[in-house]
Symmetry: C2
Subunit: 331 residues, 2 copies
DNA sequence: AATGAATATGTAAGGGCTTACATCCATTTT
DNA sequence: AAAATGGATGTAAGCCCTTACATATTCATT
């Protein structure tokens, strides 16, 4: 069944059917309704490929995500997908892992599927030299990044003010007189770098320096964070007073370490997570966490993209503020 | 740039270029390499729409998921996506929520995008009457369901033996002499129904009956489960001895309730989760959980689908076994 | 009633690929 | 040496839309 069948059954030309389907051009109300009724009656769906051939777009946006099984990215992807659909776009999902080569392939793949744009969830790597494939992709379609930014034409970054989020909350600890503050982080990404500098800046502000031994990189799992925190707790002669983390899942690990070391939380040690995910609510005691507003970031990203499609004037970088959600691991 | 450009640059016909691109038909090794080098040199990518028009497929599978922000579904989608890509298929993601109307729309949408198959993640509803749209869809493309099954042509179910998983683990409690065992569940789905009957069956096996007041349905959040468990703890004259749940996130809520009631875990009360997700590892004390093997289910689903594409003989229902992962909330 | 503008509809030319069928050529067979 | 075979390649039709342009119709204006 194709547009010709509908046209002949409705006694009109295929052009008229097409116009009805696309709501473009002039069709009399009467004809329009008649055609629609035939379409309904025969259960006709236009062939997306033929349509794509004509329009060179099938309203599909590629989502590039390093790992949707991560609860944070999952929330982002979920929000993006919903918001896109509401705007009439579908989502082609591509999870790439953290490997540059794979991501290059994924971008090529999305482009070969003729997506109308690419939305990146999950930070790129710090070595900007390896981002040439993103710049290339942006020559073909708009490229929107969440929690990341590259200053180049046709690239839009929706980021959270991670620097100040960490700086301010670290400062709170410092103002309480604490100095033995550890920082646990996992990835060396754009936003990861911001958070780390935020941590350091809090110390600099007070003309102090953070102890380099207390800044620890570890794998993205509670187990890894637990191990690292236990190590710090054992090694330090002076007691660890607080732990700041780049992700709730690390904070949970730190929390487990503190609990197993018999420390009272938050009296003996305070812990602060990042992302305000389900993990923060599930931890025991419940985790204080910096909410960097994934949903808002995601919605903003999609809206930005829609504006770009509509040739509206859009700023290349949008910065949102994080917000602390206080629970039981801080005073 | 199109296939004609490549053909003329290579001094061959478009048919030959097409044959090289698709690896079909006979092309001499020499010509093939020459054409490939031109393609490489010019950076040519065949137009996916034109190709789709000819083949009526662009190797894309629709993933229908009620909610990717749920950590369990996120893992499933992530695994599916990876496995599909390895088999040369891409994933069109569609999150539908738990609403039948929305799901109908999503299925239509996937079909209109001419996906080669639909993969459903997340159970359908118990009222089979409302599954007519799935049966309809299966007339067009293979339909694979994870954790669900409808016995109809072209529908394949990859399920976990949820019934026995819950039955066996409930039995362990009963064999310990416990009788005041609560069951917390969230959704009234296919696998949800299996789990619930498994719970009941454990009692029936011993010619006992479960207390209907201890079988509680609640929303899918730790907070809701916490509240319900607190209610049970307060109401019951005889002490609650164990809680079985249909999802880790409910188990975490139950755990929080028990902790806040000052109970010793697992001495005073034992708790068992389901799915063995990150939440189980993050809980404190760490949660014993039934692992229903999402990754394996997902991989099996995709492999089944690939077999169906290859017209291999595939059984309509594949049942995998769950496995208990013991942590600190059971004896 | 004649003219022109605006609206409604139709015709036909792409858009870029796949593939059945036709053709050509180099082998092998008799 | 002629015929048969089969591999390599080309031609052209078809897939199903969109849309520029052409034509027909309607309506308002003079």
């Amino acid at each position: 069944m194709n547009i010709y069948d509908i046209a002949s059954k409705a006694g009109v030309s295929i052009a008229t059917v097409s116009r009805v389907l696309n709501g473009k051009g002039n069709v009399s109300e009467k004809t329009k309704e008649h055609v629609l009724s035939i379409i309904e009656e025969m259960g006709y769906t236009p062939n997306i490929f033929a349509r794509g051939l004509g329009l060179n777009s099938i309203k599909m946006v590629g989502i590039l995500c390093s790992d949707v099984s991560d609860i944070y990215y999952a929330t982002a992807v979920s929000t993006i997908e919903k918001e896109l659909r509401q705007s009439g776009y579908d989502s082609l999902l591509c999870c790439t892992g953290d490997n540059i080569e794979d991501r290059k392939k994924s971008i090529d793949l999305l482009l070969s599927k003729r997506v109308d744009a690419i939305l990146l969830v999950g930070s790129t790597f710090k070595e900007k030299s390896d981002n040439s494939h993103i710049l290339d992709a942006a020559k073909n379609v708009p490229f929107v990044m969440i929690n990341d930014f590259i200053d180049a034409p046709n690239i839009y970054g929706i980021v959270c003010d991670d620097f100040n989020a960490v700086r301010e909350n670290t400062s709170i600890f410092l103002e309480q007189g604490l100095r033995r503050i550890a920082y646990l982080y996992d990835a060396d990404t754009y936003s990861g770098a911001l958070k780390l500098s935020g941590f350091r800046a809090a110390f600099t502000q007070l003309n102090t320096l953070s102890d380099p031994e207390l800044i620890v990189r570890c794998a993205h799992s509670p187990e890894a964070a637990r191990e690292q925190t236990l190590r710090l707790l054992q090694k330090q002669k002076r007691r660890l007073e607080a732990v700041v983390t780049s992700d709730d899942c690390l904070a949970v690990g730190a929390l487990q370490a503190a609990v197993s070391a018999g420390l009272q939380i938050p009296h003996d040690i305070q812990i602060i997570g990042f992302n305000n995910s389900l993990l923060a609510r599930c931890a025991n005691p419940a985790l204080t966490s910096i909410d960097n507003k994934v949903e808002l970031l995601s919605v903003t990203a999609v809206r930005t993209l829609i504006d770009v499609f509509a040739h509206k004037n859009v700023s290349n970088k949008i910065v949102l503020s994080a917000e602390l959600v206080k629970r039981s691991t801080t005073i």
